[in-house]
């Protein structure tokens, strides 16, 4: 835990300089700021809202100099104060540090710093001088101590980190403002390049991402968040040739020998992302996939009208093969091979990303998954995707009646309901135990489902599955009432006694969640599970078996595409470090991100300037009447003009954070 000697954050001043060090209160919320890496204490922290000093030997003049120099380097160069001001300021701070100018220049430095803050165009410039201003307003004496002492105090060990709220919330930490900036400049190839640095499935993500970034977007304080996902899809679709032309084995600079082969289990988002990064690092990679098609949950769990398979998903997966990787389909771990087999075959490391493909049950009376007309949501979607893949030629394995009832309120439930319509079911109902506002599905999905004529029943909790002669005939529900807010801020629900009712249905699709089907593991594999029946991993995604790493839904439980891809990337890094150094290495960006998290909740990030209201681009869609009968992609790509306009909405909330460390 860190003891703040002095500092300013969000205009709140801390000054413990008259206390003895042990008397200073340790602040739990700053626990991350104690050490940067083991044995390397953090001496000072500078960020968009001020600074903290933990060690009295710190030269804050030098800290400010290095911080402003980062801003000058990162400045996009469009607006005057950030472009020129930060450069002038850097020169002045250096001159001050070197004693070329004296304390009489400090007033001018403060004027310039305040000018950059008040007149810069985006978040980078607006916050680039915040620590300096705080120092000069409140701790000028400490600042001036270092004037002319560059030889003793200059160039302290300094680490910087440039981020933005959207980047911090993105599991893959994609540099979102940057790819948006490239859209503005119509450098679409650079834009997609930013995304492809993180994962290969850009067009897929641009269609189905749950958008943690947009939830964090500060533009929503003005009108609506920036359409980050639609911009991603725009550049990915625009530069579709990249997957054909950009990726080949020449891209890999240092190829590793066959003695360093890595096996990846599962060709879903986590596995593909891991394989991609491992291949780029030079490892020979074999991917084993139990199904006959790629994409994992993105392949079989998301319907084609949201994510076209041949043109989009499969093409992006094929990047793995373009990079020299091999994907072996129809090979299931636990059935066709075991972990020991892989090791015996010479794989030096294994990544497991098998997903969570078993549907959860309702756990109510009368439920029996062998009943005719009863099916889990994931299985239903799997059958549909395979059926559509076969161009609807094969016989559908489930007999569909006239009325189908989907249980659940997430995106899987919406996918099941909307797919059922497209399979020709006349009447589709969705029942969810909580209120509409509490549905975890994307608002857009719910809206689209309603447009297509799907009936919703909210606050309806199933109590019994009704069947006749082993054929499902309906579900008995009890009405629920909204209760008080619980500690997590969600209103609880309680059953209304005596309110039971029945919805008849020929088919019931249960889409209330998935879990890991751990039956692929045997005791010999040496893998432990956690209490949610997920694979147990450490911070570096290493499992309990040496050399075996895991990520995605099989570690997280059913989560999202972007989280799985992020874990794939992270595991690839861990595997590389394991195979190179035998143990994980220090990741300064990740460490900075943790440190920044300490102050994030202290940051008041309101948009205080008036901004012209400009609502986000409306995406053209197929007409509900037309689309509900076919599996053609519903959402259309936006035009270049729309993309420019949407990109212009980005406020570029870049923030610089830095630490001064001992070494």
């Amino acid at each position: 835990m860190a003891r703040i000697l002095y500092g300013v954050w969000n205009e709140e001043i801390t000054d413990n300089r008259d206390k003895r060090f042990f008397e200073i209160e340790e602040l739990k919320e700053f626990d991350q700021m104690d050490e940067f890496n083991p044995g390397n204490p953090v001496k000072a922290f500078l960020g968009a809202k001020g600074f903290f000093v933990f060690d009295k030997e710190t030269s804050i003049l030098d800290a400010a100099h290095q911080y402003v120099a980062t801003a000058a380097k990162e400045s996009c160069g469009k607006c005057t104060p950030c472009r020129v001001g930060t450069e002038v300021l850097t020169s002045k701070l250096e001159a001050l540090s070197k004693g070329e100018i004296g304390a009489d220049a400090v007033d001018e430095i403060l004027t310039l710093a305040e000018h950059i803050k008040s007149t810069s165009m985006c978040g980078l410039g607006q916050t680039a001088t915040e620590p300096l201003i705080a120092m000069l307003r409140h701790f000028r004496d400490e600042f001036e101590i270092s004037i002319g002492r560059y030889d003793e105090t200059g160039k302290q060990a300094y680490t910087d980190y440039v981020t933005a709220p959207c980047i911090e919330q993105c599991p893959s930490r994609v540099d979102i403002p940057r790819y948006i900036e490239y859209v503005k400049d119509s450098k679409f190839d650079r834009s997609i390049g930013v995304i492809l640095k993180k994962y290969p499935m850009a067009a897929t993500c641009g269609r189905v991402c749950v958008r943690f970034c947009e939830a964090a977007c500060r533009r929503s304080r003005v009108d609506e968040p920036v359409g980050i996902k639609v911009l991603k899809r725009f550049v990915a679709d625009k530069e579709r040739y990249v997957t054909d032309q950009w990726f080949n084995e020449d891209l890999i600079s240092e190829k590793k020998g066959d003695d360093l082969r890595v096996a990846v289990i599962g060709a879903g988002p986590a596995g593909i992302s891991a394989a991609y990064h491992l291949l780029l690092k030079g490892y020979p990679v074999d991917v084993y996939e139990s199904l006959t098609e790629p994409g994992g949950m993105a392949g079989v769990g998301i319907p084609k009208y949201r994510l076209p398979k041949d043109e989009i998903l499969n093409k992006e997966v094929s990047i793995i093969e373009s990079l020299g990787g091999h994907i072996h389909y129809g090979k299931k771990m636990g059935k066709d091979f075991s972990l020991d087999d892989l090791i015996r075959q010479g794989y030096k490391s294994v990544f497991i990303g098998v997903g969570a493909h078993r549907g959860k049950k309702l756990k109510v009376a009368g439920e029996d998954d062998s009943l005719e007309g009863y099916i889990s949501g994931v299985r239903f979607l799997l059958y549909i995707n395979q059926h559509v893949l076969n161009e609807e030629q094969s016989e559908f394995p489930v007999k569909l009646g006239k009325k189908l009832l989907v249980m659940g309120g997430g995106n899987v439930a919406m996918d099941c309901a909307r797919s059922a319509l497209r399979m020709g079911v006349e009447e589709v109902h969705v029942a969810y135990r909580r209120a509409e506002e509490q549905m975890p599905a994307d608002v857009e999905e719910i809206h689209a489902a309603k447009e297509e004529g799907i009936h919703f029943h909210f606050l309806s909790q199933p109590v019994r599955v009704i069947s006749e002669k082993r054929q499902v005939t309906g579900i008995e529900f009890v009405e629920m009432e909204l209760g008080e807010m619980d500690s997590s801020g969600r209103r609880g629900v309680t059953p209304k006694p005596g309110s039971e009712f029945i919805i008849d249905a020929d088919n019931v699709v249960v889409a209330i969640g998935q879990e890991v089907d751990a039956s692929f593991l045997s005791d010999d594999d040496g893998m432990e599970l956690d209490r949610w029946e997920c694979l147990k991993t450490d911070d570096h995604l290493a499992t309990t078996r040496k050399g075996v790493f895991a990520g995605g839904d099989c570690v997280l439980g059913p989560a999202t595409l972007i989280q799985a891809m992020a874990q794939g990337e992270k595991a690839a890094r861990s595997i590389d470090e394991y195979l190179t150094y035998g143990r994980p290495q220090f990741d300064s960006d990740r460490r900075m991100s943790q440190i920044v998290e300490c102050v994030r909740k202290h940051a008041d990030d309101d948009v205080i300037q008036p901004v012209k209201h400009q609502y986000r681009v409306r995406i053209e869609e197929l007409e509900p009447e037309k689309r509900k009968e076919i599996f053609e992609e519903v959402e259309k790509v936006i035009t270049a003009e729309e993309a420019f306009r949407e990109a212009d909405r980005c406020l570029r909330c870049y923030r610089i954070y830095s630490v001064i460390t001992d070494h």
């Binding site: 104060p81 020129v84 020169s91 310039l112 990249v242 950009w246 012209k612």
Partner: protein
């Protein structure tokens, strides 16, 4: 909604900016990057600062007025001490980043940055650093010079290039003080997709983008006693040059230009309008030939070299649609060095043809390798209207003071009103229809004019009844963005066209990239120039190209039949090339660029 500016109650609408509101109430706020008639408010210069207090706030803040909306109850101060000091500091920073070589700059005395320094009351340039010398200076293009040491990143050129022309060649590149306006997929302009239209030079507030200065070469020729100098000037120049001498837009200075050339020592002063009449004879005959013989249609005009570049670079599969007739500038060069040289008994190798054009692309056109006669180019050097203005000033000639001269060359000294309207969008079409109508029907177009094709809208269409040829569909596009849209219509087959006139620049030649520019103003003066052009036509004695007696005489005595004779083909027609570039960056290059932080 209501608020106050400097204590005065103002009313405004949703999303109206502070600057717009202030202007409506006639309150001045200094601006630099903003360009009102392009709706360009990138907010990059940060000079148009004002101090605002939002309703309910207990503090004031400094914002840019160009892109900050007025809000109910907001109080705005445009002249507070804080505002003035910060505006001054801003301009100080701008100058720090700008190579201050004012005395030698093309924008000397006409610079928006200098203006704004005065508007904010700047007394000294405070910071002395060299932040600019690492940036690009690009003199590779025969048309446009790029000096990024002077760029202030207003982005007007980027907007013009993307939104008006749709070429999207210019873009922001690099970061920090090294940021500049780069050229897409190329280091230099001459190897890029730039079509040399020069619209960017019309809006650059400083000397960062300008026409290539060829005045020195012109002075050389005019003062070389060995050389026989033939000058020509295009129709659009005479209705705009006056603006360089404080005359109001639309003043016709044809007569003064003739006198000026004579004062400068030109041996023969010709009107490009003479060859505009020739072009109508050639292009009209070519159109008839294509319609009758089943040639490639629609035929596209070929007078605008920016448009030619555009087709060659963006739609090379359509070069066969382009009329093979050379532009009036090139026809004049070719005719001067053949027919005129013969008639005047002058060695064409000693002849130098100097053009005054409204156009930067004409400079490049004159340098096309196919446009040569003997060892020399048909046209030796091209000056834009702007350069000609500065040449006159260098020579101590104040245009408005001159007497009006007249064209007097006995072989090429007559032109018609049909040629004059080449200077406006729609003019080539109208002139062509006047003549084709006569050739096909044996009678003049009733009422002479074809008003349906006049105007300033991006795309205009008309149908003309041409008797035995049936109804001919014609269309006109001005600006390359409109051209792209029209080409889209052609390609989609949504409508069948026979003849399409395209001018690369908005308004046609009168809005050309080489025309006089106006600070904080783009296009506003086009209406006045256009009116002047049509007035000249209306008051002309001859209004149809086929009635130009010297043109007739030239065909009879030298070229023979338009389009079909050997000489006409050799000297008045040309070929075009596929110049499309396909540049694909590898992902490795892009990733390297990203990690270098560019």
């Amino acid at each position: 909604m209501q608020g106050t500016i400097n204590g005065k109650l103002v009313e405004f609408g949703e999303n109206e900016t502070i600057l717009q509101t202030a202007r409506r109430y006639d309150m001045f706020i200094p601006t630099l990057c903003e360009l009102e008639n392009l709706d360009h408010t990138p907010g990059t210069c940060r000079v148009c600062l004002v101090e605002i207090k939002r309703k309910g706030d207990d503090f004031t803040q400094i914002v840019t007025s160009c892109n900050t909306p007025m809000e109910e109850g907001n109080e705005v101060q445009t002249r507070s001490r804080k505002v003035r000091e910060q505006q001054r500091l801003q301009v100080n920073l701008l100058l720090t980043d700008h190579e201050e070589d004012c005395a030698t700059c093309v924008r000397h005395g006409d610079c928006e940055l200098q203006d704004v320094a005065q508007f904010v009351g700047l007394k000294e340039a405070r910071f002395k650093y060299d932040f600019s010398s690492g940036r690009t200076k690009d003199a590779s293009s025969p048309s446009v010079v790029r000096d990024m040491t002077k760029c202030i990143r207003c982005g007007r050129c980027v907007t013009i290039c993307r939104e008006v022309q749709g070429t999207d060649v210019l873009f922001y590149e690099n970061k920090g003080v090294n940021s500049e306006i780069g050229v897409r997929d190329s280091d230099l302009l001459n190897t890029s997709d730039c079509v040399s239209c020069g619209q960017c030079t019309l809006v650059c507030p400083v000397g960062a983008l300008a026409e290539r200065d060829d005045t020195e070469e012109v002075i050389d020729y005019l003062n070389d006693p060995e050389m026989f100098t033939v000058v020509q000037f295009a129709p659009a120049t005479r209705v705009a040059l006056g603006e360089e001498f404080n005359l109001k837009p639309g003043s016709n200075v044809e007569g003064q230009m003739i006198t000026a050339f004579r004062k400068l020592g030109a041996d023969v002063v010709l009107d490009t309008n003479f060859t505009a009449d020739v072009v109508i004879m050639e292009e009209g005959s070519e159109l008839l030939h294509r319609v009758k013989e089943g040639g490639t249609l629609p035929m596209l005009t070929s007078c605008s070299p920016g448009w030619i570049n555009y087709v060659e670079k963006f739609y090379p599969d359509m070069v066969s649609n382009l009329s093979t007739t050379k532009s009036p500038q090139q026809c004049l060069g070719a005719i001067a060095k053949t027919y005129l040289a013969e008639k005047m008994e002058i060695d064409p190798a000693k002849m130098r043809v100097i053009s005054i054009m409204p156009c930067t692309a004409k400079k490049e056109e004159a340098k096309r390798p196919e446009f040569t006669i003997g060892e020399r180019p048909e046209v030796d050097v091209v000056l834009t209207t702007r350069e000609f203005g500065s040449l006159l000033k260098r020579e101590g000639i104040w245009l408005p003071d001159l007497e009006e001269g007249k064209f007097d060359n006995p072989w090429m000294g007559v032109a018609t009103g049909a040629a004059e309207i080449f200077g406006s969008t729609g003019g080539v079409m109208e002139a062509a229809v006047r003549t084709v109508h006569y050739i096909v029907k044996g009678e003049e177009l009733p009422g002479v004019d074809l008003k349906a094709v006049r105007g300033l809208e991006g795309i205009r269409e008309a149908s003309v009844d041409l008797g035995e040829l049936g109804t001919v569909n014609v269309a006109i596009a001005n600006s390359l963005k409109s051209a792209r849209e029209l080409v889209g219509r052609v390609r989609s087959g949504e409508k069948e066209y026979h003849f399409i006139e395209v001018m690369a620049c908005p308004g046609g030649c009168m809005g050309g990239g080489g025309q006089p520019k106006h600070k904080h103003n783009y296009r506003e003066f086009l209406t006045a120039r256009q009116k002047a052009i049509y007035d000249i036509d209306a008051s002309s004695e001859l209004r149809q190209s086929h009635r130009n007696p010297l043109v007739k005489e030239m065909y009879d005595s030298y070229f023979g039949e338009p389009y079909s004779s050997e000489r006409s083909h050799k000297y008045l027609h040309t070929t075009y090339w596929d110049k499309k570039r396909t540049v694909k960056h590898t992902i490795k290059e892009i990733w390297d660029e990203l990690s270098e932080g560019r």
